[in-house]
Amino acid sequence: MRNYWNIFDDKRMKIPSAFSLQSSAFRFRIDLLRIACFLAAITIVATLGFLLYEILSKAWPAITTFGWRFIIRSDWQPNRDLYGVLPMLMGTLTSSLIALLLALPLGLAIAIFLSENFLPSPVRHAMRFIIDLLAAIPSVVYGLWGIFVIVPLVQKYGDSISQHAGSIPIFQGPAYGNSLLAASLVLALMVLPTITSLSRAALVAVPMVLREGSYALGATRWETIFNVLLPCATPGVVAAAILGFGRAMGETMAVAMLIGNSQRLTFSLFSPSNTLSALLANQFAEADGLQINALMYAALLLILMTLLVNLIGELILKKTQKNIWS
């Protein structure tokens, strides 16, 4: 067992005997680089801890006032100091889930396509680069694009869908442009790079021998992909999906611009909804009194949810990588 806390002197730092003079001078020196790195690492951990503490302490009055009812109540009425985040909680989960349902098949298909040699390698590299570039577009740009492209589309087709299939609760009218569906569609595009690149990594990591073995048994390329590669890469793909889900849950700006920000609980894809992050973005500036505490409570829930989801995703990812390399 090495002593990791010994940051002042490193016995392992053996200087070749030809430099023995310097070496003796070196040994008693404090390793400044090591201290600096150590401090930097500690700072990050401390910051996260401090952040959680700060939010928890600010949320405390709301936690003691509302307790669990905060999560299951569906009215958010700052003028009457009544707070319940069920609609936003549901909005966060459903919008992220729909985004995932749309993005996962697409992302997986792209990942399969890019991990096979259908196209010459430079072209594949270019495509990978473009998909990764989607992750670099600022959220607000997605929001604007959603406003000008997705919202009119959703309104146009939503109207006719809700007129014909309005009896099904999820298609119930009246159809709004700024709706759960519009936000989910844009979210799907935003999580696509995450899902694609992680799934591709999982597929590429499947050992070559398995693929060769499958071919040797006479399987076609598609049989190999569906029966050998995908099952092997499944945990990695699941991790990709979960991490994509986590990203969708925390997304703020684009969602706030598209989801319609209504404080009501709805089940229709075409009605305005809300998410926890959009609620925070909208209401924090003008909040006072208990509303601030309630918003902090909502922030705490959001942090816990995203932390949990990301943790699960990372765990699965770690486990699968170990399996493949060992």
Binding site: Q77, N79, P174, N178, A285, E286, D288
Partner: protein
């Protein structure tokens, strides 16, 4: 090289120190609605009085009052003035000065209908979600032309998603005229609307209305005017249909008899020519300041109450009635 940079930094710092010694800086923050006007006043005032610099940030009424109470700013501005419990937290005491006034209008997106008249029952009904179609009998009653139109979209109500003085004034008015609204929704900067979608800020609401056919929402007069949105003519307490305009807004303001603390809202003015939804917005000062700041604030406020009132209509705000200006100036002299 390093030396040059060092000297440059020192020089800049000295320059900053020198200027800050020469000028009195007044910091304020608060309501976003009057922010464009206050910033314009600050800029023009600084040109006339180079020794005084006024900074105003539109961060929201609530946050502005908070900063002021904590002593971070010299003054604050709020669309709902300050409540008595809030005032109690400022140990020097406060003076609330009406600085300008605004009119809240309803706007809509229905190109087939160039003008729209709504009775009180109709606009309360729309906002409560009881009227959802543009050809509702209550709307047709005041707009016979709509009966002939077919294929109208449903009404999409657009509200504010953030807390705002605009919402506070509107809900105050609606609660005053409809017991049902008072019970179901209530009054406040941020309420739970029974229908519709919402956007952030006056500009967010404006954008949603422009974009959504069949939409109906509320905003400050200036925003509707600058964006050339149609404005709804409303029925007032006397039963008259009155279009929003600087004249009808000023008529409503003139009916407000301000009490000693200069804080009052006219949720439902009763004159025949009064537009029903208008209200003041306040700049709030402490009762005591160091001498230098006191005179600077008095100068600025006197400028705002005189020359400033001439600028207000250019930006879509209502100038204060003469009797209010007089009362406000009297209140200013009591600063210590």
């Amino acid at each position: 090289m390093k030396k040059t940079i060092f000297f440059a930094v020192v020089l800049v710092m000295l320059a900053i120190m020198a200027t800050s010694h020469a000028t009195t800086i007044l910091n304020g923050s608060g309501a976003t609605f009057p922010a464009p006007l206050y910033q314009r006043w600050a800029a023009q005032f600084h040109q006339e009085h180079p020794a005084i610099a006024v900074n105003y940030q539109g961060i929201g009424s609530g946050a502005g009052v908070n900063n002021f109470t904590k002593g971070l700013t010299d003054f604050c501005a709020s669309d709902v003035a300050m409540s008595d419990p809030e005032i109690a937290k400022v140990k020097e005491g406060v003076i609330m000065i009406p600085a300008t006034a605004g009119t809240i209008v309803f706007s809509y997106n229905l190109p087939e209908v160039p003008t729209l008249n709504l009775s009180r029952e109709a606009y309360v009904g729309i906002l409560l979600g009881k009227i959802t179609a543009w050809n509702d009998p209550l709307i047709i009653k005041n707009n016979p032309g709509i009966a002939a139109l077919s294929n109208l979209p449903p009404i999409s109500v657009v509200t504010r998603s953030d807390g705002s003085g605009t919402t506070a004034l509107l809900t105050g008015h609606l609660a005053a005229i409809s017991p049902e609204f008072a019970e179901k929704v209530g009054v406040g900067r941020s309420v739970k609307w029974p229908v519709g979608l919402s956007g952030k800020g006056n500009d967010g609401v404006t954008a949603l209305i422009k974009q959504t056919r069949g939409s109906f929402g509320y905003m400050e007069f200036g925003f509707a005017k600058n964006n050339q949105l149609p404005m709804v003519t409303l029925e007032n307490k006397a039963g008259e249909l009155v279009a929003p305009s600087p004249a009808s807004g000023a008529a409503s303001l003139a009916t407000i008899q301000l009490p000693q603390n200069l804080r009052d809202f006219s949720y439902d003015p009763k004159g025949r020519d009064n537009y029903p939804i208008t209200g003041f917005t306040w700049i709030i000062l402490k009762k005591e300041y160091p001498t230098e700041k006191k005179t600077a604030l008095q100068d600025f406020m006197n400028y705002a109450l005189t020359t400033g009132q001439l600028i207000a209509p250019q930006l879509g705000y209502l100038p204060l009635p003469a009797n209010v200006v007089q009362k406000a100036q009297e209140a200013l002299t009591s600063l210590k």
